[in-house]
Symmetry: C2
């Protein structure tokens, strides 16, 4: 009764998925490599062996998540004349995968403490901002507004105000969520 062996590439992929879940909750400093190992059901030293260090894994996770976000935007954009409203739909599918955006938020927050992570976080941020403009051809101000609304939704998701298993809803939460229903964004 031995474990199924996977190739290093397959196991790494699996570990990145586990790391997304773990880092989304605890952030970089608040997550142990053992947390991740347990989620993926491998031993903790193997995590280190495959990625070299906890920081290297975190950076890979950030880049991976950034890629998935960009892919979601590309998928949501029609071949011609994409509007921000199209990308908003793509963003909602990202919110549904509830760990992706919070893990990126933790990346941004950790940028303050570590230069190496900072460089990666800023690059991801710039890539996403640039992609939004490329796909839709909007003005910088409109693209920035789009991103800022996404930022707000990301924070709300991190605080479990929106998303699956939300906390008990306070009046201000209901009002804020409701303000999206009429505004075209965050269509549940």
């Amino acid at each position: 009764m031995t474990r199924t062996r996977l190739t290093a590439a397959e196991r790494s992929e699996q570990l990145i998925d586990a790391a997304i879940v773990a880092f989304a909750k605890g952030g970089y400093a608040g997550t142990t490599t053992d947390d991740i190992a347990r989620l993926a059901e491998v031993s903790q030293p193997y995590v280190i062996r495959l990625f070299g260090s906890k920081k290297a894994l975190f950076i890979m996770v950030i880049e991976h998540v950034s890629g998935r976000i960009q892919q979601a935007f590309r998928d949501a954009a029609p071949a011609e004349g994409a509007q921000l409203a199209d990308l908003a739909n793509g963003f909602d599918t990202l919110l549904a995968r509830r760990h992706l955006l919070p893990v990126l938020l933790h990346g941004f927050a950790a940028a303050n403490a570590d230069d190496e992570i900072g460089r990666v976080a800023r690059a991801c941020y710039g890539d996403i901002y640039t992609l939004v403009q490329e796909l839709t051809g909007t003005t910088p101000a409109e693209a920035r507004d789009f991103i800022s609304t996404g930022m707000l939704l990301t924070v709300l998701a991190s605080m479990r105000v929106i998303g699956p298993e939300p906390v008990a809803q306070e009046p201000w939460m209901i009002q804020m969520i409701d303000s999206f229903e009429h505004g075209g964004r965050y269509k549940h």
Copy 2:
């Protein structure tokens, strides 16, 4: 040659200031009580004695920062008919105190991992959102937009894209910052 003794209240105040700086950089999990103690030039056990635990100190910091943010908005609002533009000026003074907003961002991010912190973070968020509406009488959607732009600026500050000692400016950073110059917000 002994240290100047302060009252517990004075020392606590000093420690909260130190904790704002430390937590703004490292976040909750990434900051040690010894980091804070060194900043305030007291011993690490004394930090624990005064606040009971690291978590209790973090929560106090979040609430303190939330209070200062609310105060900045009140100060920036004229007695009658305050506009969001007035509060935007208040926000800029908060950005200048460069640790306040990043520490709050870390509070929001940590909300995901700890229920107790989560409750406090959500309460602070709701208080600020509610205050913005009270002061200006805007619609929920406008207040939400105001907050979301603040969120974006907070993230940019955490990543050192804006603020003192910014990193080398990439083209997208210049463009995004420039988009504020023409949009009425973030007037440096």
